[in-house]
């Protein structure tokens, strides 16, 4: 090969090497003198490489939106609405339609069906029309036989609804964690569209309990009328649930419900579930449905109570809610109203005058729980409950230990490899060492360039990549030795050795790249991390072990054309 060609090759290598050095060690700002000190280089290195949570510390949460719960609720609501729609239905001339229905629902094993049994089979078609006018059954499969009407939710629609419920939950969670102020959170949906899985990663968060509660907080706020004689008689409460139920005929009805009433709640948690051991002392009967509910909220905030240390939550309504609330309070002056949070009465007060758009949840909240409650109220209600499927936290010290162990082991291994190569292949060993060093530099540079995250499995991929880089060098050198033994001259042996070994190297690399690409496509995030570093390492190795190493050999030949022996 002539000198010009060699210079071009060398130029390419040096250029790529400089880019690599810049990507790995270079500052992402205007360079200053401090960037060239040891500490500055270390700083830049740390900020350039995107370490995974397992190395840097933080919380990794996989949660699932209980989409089947969402579909069940949807089915039940539609059933109730359909029964109601028939009750209210009028025929063309404005007279009552005169048909009623008994409803039931199926919501299990992936089947969601509303079944209605009509009182009068002859009016089945009219009933279906009346129901469909009021209730959204557009995407449901309808079938009628005799006095039976059923609406079934097809699988495809179930998947779509699950997808949209997950999306809705995703948005709500997003607004919650942003409002909470988690630093650099990563929130993304996982798995198939209807799997309901959402991943939340929070770097640096060691104890995720508060965020976990906040994310899954199902704060349902309702304002309801209490069945009680009006003020100045004190609000009517009952000491036991049974006593309360006795006044409404022994069981809850569509219009009357019994709710527990905790007058002064100092539960430190924002979630009613965890406060279960605090038995409420009293019960009240309320009118259902609620006057207004949380969906009408415009804002909520924690404010300090008059007493000093306690907190309460003030809220305000959107215009539509304010209108409803204003109308109702105007008509109910003197009556008692309950502020109900998650089916628990938080406060009961009589209505002094017409109120339009603001209210308060009183109670002995601590600042933190009041803040969190206000936040979950404001962000809206989740479409369905959330359950955690996976929780991993890594303290920064544990992550640092993993890095230290992984890195020191890799460096230890690398030193042994380098020593062996220099000992066994002598002069050509230097060749291999240069190629290896460049391979490591460029692999990390490529990781930085594509913005990929380095995780523990990623380090494993890096190690395998380096192993294959060493292997490529060994393959080439052994082949050159073999050709020399067969009596070829030094330039011939190098040329044949590279060409022959190249075929093998290509085959081994492509095989591994193929399987890594498949791993990347089908594997979980840990496996993906492994696949990415391995693919990068292999592609780069084709450049370093073949192109770079060959260039160095060619330089040696070019400088000393007539050598008869080589150091290998």
């Amino acid at each position: 090969m002539n000198r010009t060609g060699l210079w071009i090759r060398t130029g390419v290598i040096v250029a790529i090497m400089l880019i690599g050095i810049y990507l790995v060690f270079g500052p992402r700002h205007t360079p200053s003198a401090s960037d060239f000190t040891w500490a500055g280089i270390k700083n830049n290195l740390a900020s350039n490489i995107n370490l995974g949570l397992d190395l840097k510390g933080g919380s990794h949460l996989v949660m699932r939106v209980k989409t089947e719960e969402y579909l069940r609720r949807l089915t039940e609501n539609n059933e109730a609405a359909a029964v109601q729609a028939l009750k209210d239905a009028k025929d063309d001339s404005g007279n009552p339609l005169g048909v009623t229905a008994e409803g039931s629902t199926v919501a299990e094993n992936g089947n969601y069906t509303v079944n209605l049994t009509l009182s009068d089979p002859s009016k089945a078609q009219a009933a279906v029309d009346a129901i469909k006018k009021k209730v959204d059954f557009a995407n449901w499969t309808e079938s009628t036989s005799g006095n039976q009407i059923s609406f079934d939710l097809p699988k495809q629609q179930q998947a779509n609804l699950k997808d949209s419920a997950t999306e809705q939950a995703y948005r709500i969670i997003d607004s919650r964690i942003n409002a909470f102020g988690v630093k650099e959170p990563l929130l993304q949906r996982q798995g198939s569209k209807d799997s309901g899985l959402i991943l939340l990663q929070m770097p640096g968060v060691e104890n995720p309990e508060r965020v976990k509660e906040l994310v899954k907080g199902e704060s349902r706020l309702e304002l309801m009328k209490i069945v009680s004689p009006p003020n100045p008689t004190p609000v009517q409460t009952y000491p036991t649930k049974e006593a309360a139920l006795a006044t409404i005929g022994g069981k809850e009805t569509d219009t009357r419900k019994v709710l527990p009433y905790t007058e002064r709640d100092d539960s430190p948690s924002i979630n009613a579930n965890t406060a279960q051991d605090k038995k409420p002392t009293k019960f009240v009967v309320v009118e259902s449905p609620a006057v207004v509910d949380g969906s009408e909220l415009r804002d909520a905030a924690a404010i300090q109570g008059r007493g000093g240390s306690d907190y309460q939550i003030s809220f305000s309504f959107k215009p539509s809610g304010a209108q409803k609330f204003g109308d109702w309070t105007g008509k109910n002056i003197g009556n008692y109203m309950a502020v109900v949070l998650n089916d628990e009465v938080k406060s009961a007060a009589y209505i002094k005058s017409q109120i339009f758009d603001t209210g308060e949840i009183s109670g002995k909240f601590q600042k933190q729980s009041a803040d969190d409650l206000a936040l979950t109220l404001k962000s809206g209600a989740l479409p369905a409950g959330i359950e955690y499927q996976e929780e991993r936290t890594v303290g920064p010290s544990l992550g640092a230990d993993s890095i230290r162990a992984g890195v020191s082991a890799s460096i230890g291994g690398l030193i042994l490899v380098v020593l062996f190569m220099l000992f066994y292949y002598r002069g050509s060993g230097i060749n291999a060492v240069v190629a290896l060093a460049l391979n490591m530099l460029l692999t990390i540079a490529a990781l930085v360039m594509i913005g990929s995250t380095l995780t523990l499995p990623g380090i494993a991929g890096l190690i395998l990549g380096i192993g294959m880089a060493v292997d490529s060098n060994v393959l080439i050198f052994e082949r050159i030795r073999e050709e020399l033994r067969l009596g070829y001259s030094v330039p011939e042996a190098i040329s044949i050795g590279f060409d022959r070994a190249f075929v093998t190297i290509i085959d081994t690399h492509i095989t591994t790249i193929i399987s890594s690409v498949i791993l990347y496509m089908t594997g979980s995030s840990a496996i993906k991390g492994f696949a990415v570093t391995l693919i990068l390492g292999l592609v780069i190795n084709l450049f370093t072990a073949v192109f770079v190493s060959r260039t160095i050999f060619n330089w040696e030949l070019s400088l000393k054309p007539n050598r008869e022996r080589m150091s290998i």
Binding site: Q389, E391, T511, S515
Partner: protein
């Protein structure tokens, strides 16, 4: 020139029965171990699955004064955890790994979602009997604290089985990809040989994990994938040599050509494996507790990967070709397949600046 393993002439294929018997013996031991353990009542499970795949919680706690294992166990028993596994970290005496199984689900839909929620809290509750936990500050900065939870891994049953399935399907699809590529570049017989060798390696490593009850977690899967890559790499190096030798020498039997190819590449095989083994040994020795399962899997796998190429992949490729007809072996391999084989090596011939 400093040379090892020169002019070696070992009849590898002649020893295939011994090799295969050895492999069968190890796999049988693995099988006995898995089945025996699985069906022995009250004994250990077939595999020591980590929380990644089985579900459960592992809490890593750092103590100022580390309580004894018995004290820890007693405290955990009091909070209702019956069989916690407590491990010490070899390199960090003040830390303890506390592993608790899935707490049976009591949520309304009968799944174990409550586990992930409850795992850390239950352990914390037990540890609080030794003193307060350091909050967001580090343990050293909190004079009143006795311990600090520095890491948790909590996986529900659903997520565990999902991760397990994902790992298995990913590996299987990866193997299919390898199979197709080798079949395309070489021949079906080689592809099957290489893939069976890989299967053999994975099964053997898994057998080791069952017999010695090493914990299988996500890092072990990464190690298995590494082994797969390594083993296939080894097989291809030898196959490549066989193909090349077949082109240049059409008179010798496939048997002796394969033997010759294995011997020719032996120095490379041993040097590469030796070097990788050195790195892995460094990982076993200095890699610490977190990487322990990973390093052990690699250590076993690297040795097996090399062994299986010689002992499994090559004999299977040859055995199958013999099945195709002893007399036809040469025809099948040289002239008919010759087109494809020749085309790939012709490329290397034309690239070659010096001819013989």
């Amino acid at each position: 020139m400093f040379n090892l393993f020169q002019n070696i002439n070992i009849d590898w294929l002649g020893k295939r029965k011994g090799f295969i018997a050895f492999s069968c013996f190890i796999m049988l031991a693995g099988l006995v171990s898995t089945i025996g353990r699985q069906y022995t009542p009250g004994g250990t499970d077939a595999f020591n699955l980590g929380v990644d795949f089985k579900g459960g919680t592992v809490v890593t706690a750092k103590f100022k004064q580390r309580p004894s294992d018995d004290d820890l166990r007693a405290a955990l028993n009091k909070t209702g955890i019956n069989d916690p596994v407590i491990q010490s970290s070899t390199d960090k005496p003040d830390e303890a790994l506390i592993k608790i199984p899935l707490i049976e689900g009591n949520s309304e839909d009968g799944n174990t979602a409550a586990q992930v929620q409850a795992g850390r809290q239950t352990v914390k509750q037990a540890l609080d009997t030794f003193g307060a936990e350091a909050g967001d500050a580090s343990l050293a900065d909190s004079p009143d604290a006795a311990y600090k939870i520095v890491g948790t891994d909590s996986v529900g049953a659903v997520a565990g089985s999902k991760l397990r399935n994902q790992a298995v399907t990913a590996t299987l699809f990866g193997l299919v990809g390898i199979l197709l590529f080798i079949a395309f570049r070489y021949d079906w017989t080689y592809a099957v040989g290489a893939v069976l060798a890989v299967f053999h390696d994975v099964l053997m490593v898994v057998a080791f994990f069952s017999v010695f009850q090493w914990e299988i977690n996500l890092t072990v899967i990464a190690a298995l994938l590494t082994i797969v890559g390594f083993s296939v790499n080894d097989s291809i190096v030898i196959f490549d040599r066989v193909r090349e030798n077949l082109q240049e020498n059409r008179t010798d039997s496939l048997y002796s050509i394969t033997n010759h190819s294995i011997n020719q590449t032996l120095s490379r095989t041993i040097i590469t494996s030796g070097l990788v083994l050195l790195s892995v040994l460094a990982l076993v020795l200095f890699g610490g507790e977190v990487l322990k399962s990973f390093s052990l899997a690699l250590l076993v796998g690297v040795i097996l990967g090399t062994y299986s190429t010689i002992a499994i992949a090559s004999p299977i490729a040859i055995w199958w070709q013999n099945k195709l007809g002893d007399s036809r072996v040469k025809e099948v391999l040289a002239p008919q397949k010759g087109e494809k084989l020749a085309s790939s090596s012709r490329r290397s011939v034309t690239r070659r600046p010096v001819t013989r």
